[in-house]
């Protein structure tokens, strides 16, 4: 499946990413990276819009639950400043064209990525799932449940995770976690998404340049 790429720079596909190299000007799928306007009414089988924390509906407009066209959203999940993971969250709407979904999957999977479909909701899959857990882990650290090393070791040894929650957050940058949590807290208002104190500190220090 051929694809054209416009826009950037992109969190999903940083400069030099081999996905960018594989694009062709007249591809049947259009990949719209951050910073570019989303074209409408094109003849592409699918138009794939890179999302940050926003909804796809901000780009497409919304029509009382009957949204859907050949325009889909996507984001390659990243842990802050870590390199992008192989996961692409592909955002579909109720009436998204099946051919557009198939084309999007073909483009990303053809580039060696793994696709998980989700609806147009805040945080998509991983941020919505992870941020409350990471906030809890940071709160446990404040409350003295265990040391950071023991919490991370417990997750690695007890659950077989490749890394623990706090070491992962610190590696990727706590301020990124704050940003993702704050966006979810704004959307849902539930306590689990409220950015944990340590991430607030990190975000404020980044803002101050310290």
């Amino acid at each position: 499946m051929s694809y054209a790429v416009i826009g950037g720079p992109s969190r999903s596909f940083p400069e030099g990413d081999r996905f960018l190299v594989g694009g062709a000007p007249k591809g049947s799928v259009l990949v719209v990276l951050s910073g570019a306007a989303v074209p409408t009414g094109t003849a592409h089988t699918a138009v794939l819009v890179e999302l940050q924390h926003e909804s796809l509906g901000e780009h497409t407009g919304e029509t009382n639950g009957e949204e859907g066209s050949n325009i889909l959203g996507f984001a390659r999940w990243r842990n802050g400043d870590d390199p992008p993971s192989p996961l692409v969250e592909l955002v579909v709407q109720k009436n998204t064209a099946p051919a557009a979904i198939a084309a999007a999957c073909a483009v990303f999977e053809g580039a060696g990525l793994s696709v998980a479909l989700c609806t147009d909701q805040p945080g998509r899959i991983l941020d919505r799932l992870l941020r409350p857990k990471y906030n809890a882990a940071l709160r446990f650290l404040d409350e003295g449940l265990a040391t950071q090393a023991d919490m991370d070791l417990t997750c690695r040894l007890g659950l077989g995770y490749p890394d623990g929650p706090i070491e992962r957050l610190l590696r990727g940058g706590l301020h990124h976690h704050h940003e993702a949590s704050a966006a979810l807290f704004e959307a849902f208002g539930t306590p689990g998404f409220a950015p944990a104190r340590r991430s607030v500190v990190a975000a404020r220090r980044v803002a101050k340049g310290t």
Binding site: C118, T119, L126, F140, D150, T154, C155, L159, G192
Partner: protein, 293 residues
């Protein structure tokens, strides 16, 4: 070997967790008294234990002589007073506060004064389990992970009344047994379940909210995070009914909304979709069975 602990009792040794803990202790050279109320359960778990060590011999991990020596360290009983000579008793009985409290109260007059009692609870308070047993200063939390004979991690928790030297002695024993202890406060779920139970509920809530299908959620977790298993596959393995029990142990104590059982979970259990053991949970397994069977 631990300097002061030579003989270890395991209560609930007829169960999966108790049998695994007994293996850990015997493999490290400790004499082990395996106690259970059910003779049949003890016999079955001893056969499983022999099978486990038999495979270890087949795989070259131990010699037949070592296997025979380890098996000779076990003595089985349904009489609680046979634990009288134990320096450490680890309980892995039913996860119910009143059951554990009654056991500890019964153990206290039987055991020598220096003996330590460890609870393998995963959700209950060590302080509450010890309350009223008569030796509250000699009770510690010692939470093994399933399968205990393969997993190195032990969450160690002192109760409010646990004497520091007792906690240290229990800690030293876990090291002597070849395990990896981590220290946690006596809080619901310690580290592992405090993070995992709400996380698994959150995954169920994603399904409930129509964010994604179970297969997509699990794929995202495995691909994006590098986890070996997705949360919904894991819940199917744990059992959806067990997840409800975990929620019911956590939520009343923590009042954390994430720890409350999601309505979808209750509906699925009501529909008989318990996970792998019933053949169907968030995924369809075709027929009921044990994981890996």
């Amino acid at each position: 070997m631990s300097a002061t602990i030579q003989r270890v009792g395991v209560c609930g040794a007829g169960g999966t967790m108790g049998a695994g803990i007994a293996i850990v202790a015997a493999r490290a050279g400790f004499e082990v008294v395996r106690y259970d109320v059910s003779t049949a359960a003890l016999e079955r778990s001893l056969r499983d234990t022999a099978g486990f060590f038999g495979k270890s011999v087949e795989r070259g991990k131990m010699t037949p002589e070592d296997r025979d020596a380890v098996m000779r360290r076990f003595s089985d009983t349904t009489a609680l007073d046979r634990l009288a000579g134990c320096d450490l008793v680890i309980e892995a009985v039913f996860e119910e506060l009143s059951v554990k409290q009654a056991l500890l109260k019964a153990l206290h007059p039987i055991l020598p004064p220096h003996a330590i009692i460890a609870s393998n609870t995963s959700t209950l308070s060590i302080t509450e389990i010890a309350s009223g047993c008569g030796r509250e200063d000699r009770v510690v939390g010692m939470h093994f992970c399933l399968p205990a004979q393969l997993m190195k991690l032990i969450e160690m928790s002192p109760g409010v009344n646990t004497a520091p030297e007792v906690f240290q002695a229990a800690w030293d024993w876990t090291l002597a047994a070849g395990q990896q202890p981590v220290r946690t406060q006596d809080k619901p779920g310690f580290i592992l379940n405090a993070l995992l139970v709400p996380f698994n509920n959150d995954a169920i809530r994603l399904v409930e909210a129509g964010v994604a299908e179970p297969a997509d959620i699990d794929r995202a977790v495995k691909t994006g995070l590098g986890y070996k298993m997705g949360p919904l596959e894991l819940i199917d393995l744990i059992g959806l009914d067990t997840q409800i029990r975990l929620c019911e142990a956590f939520y009343p104590v923590t009042l954390d909304p994430r720890a409350a059982a999601p309505p979808l979970l209750r509906r699925m259990v009501a529909a008989g979709r318990l996970g792998r053991k019933s053949g169907r949970g968030f995924f369809d397994y075709g027929k009921p069975g044990m994981y890996g069977a």
